[in-house]
Symmetry: C2
Subunit: 106 residues, 2 copies
Amino acid sequence: MSPVFRHVVLMKFRSPLDADQADRVTRALDDLGAQSPTVRAISHGPDLGVRAGGHDYALVADFDDAQGWQAYSAHPAHDVVRSVMKDLVESQVACQFAVGDPGDGA
Amino acid sequence: MSPVFRHVVLMKFRSPLDADQADRVTRALDDLGAQSPTVRAISHGPDLGVRAGGHDYALVADFDDAQGWQAYSAHPAHDVVRSVMKDLVESQVACQFAVGDPGDGA
């Protein structure tokens, strides 16, 4: 597997999403993934509530490299995500790590 | 792709890891992944420092279902991880979401 730049974001919402809000989040992130040519893979979704105290939502997106992630971040579809999220998200944390490089525990 | 129960953990360390500590973290998590029969895929690694303010380390692990994650959590190799991490990790956040289920934005 060629090396992957894996971008992970975990989000906490201000309050539980209603069905319409959840749908807008899902569609905005689906669109971002579909419209960003540098995305190699993307998955996202609400916490399943199996483990207490988890964050509310997670996204994992794979790119060839940091430039791929930067293009995704700058993509117009990301502005739509930001506009949807800005009133919903209380906080978010992120981390980006290499997958498939020797020594990075792929 | 059959549905996946994706487990994501982001960690903050008390202080930057030295080479020996980083190696112990990598080996403990590699061993956990290799020894846990319910793990379908696992990736982990240190933040690449491309984006300021990120968490220090991330792990993404895939299972068939919640039971697979629970077996992984209870696995003896996880006790080794906990013993390695307990003096290093300041805080961690987690989220678990479905990938590949209709409506979960896979």
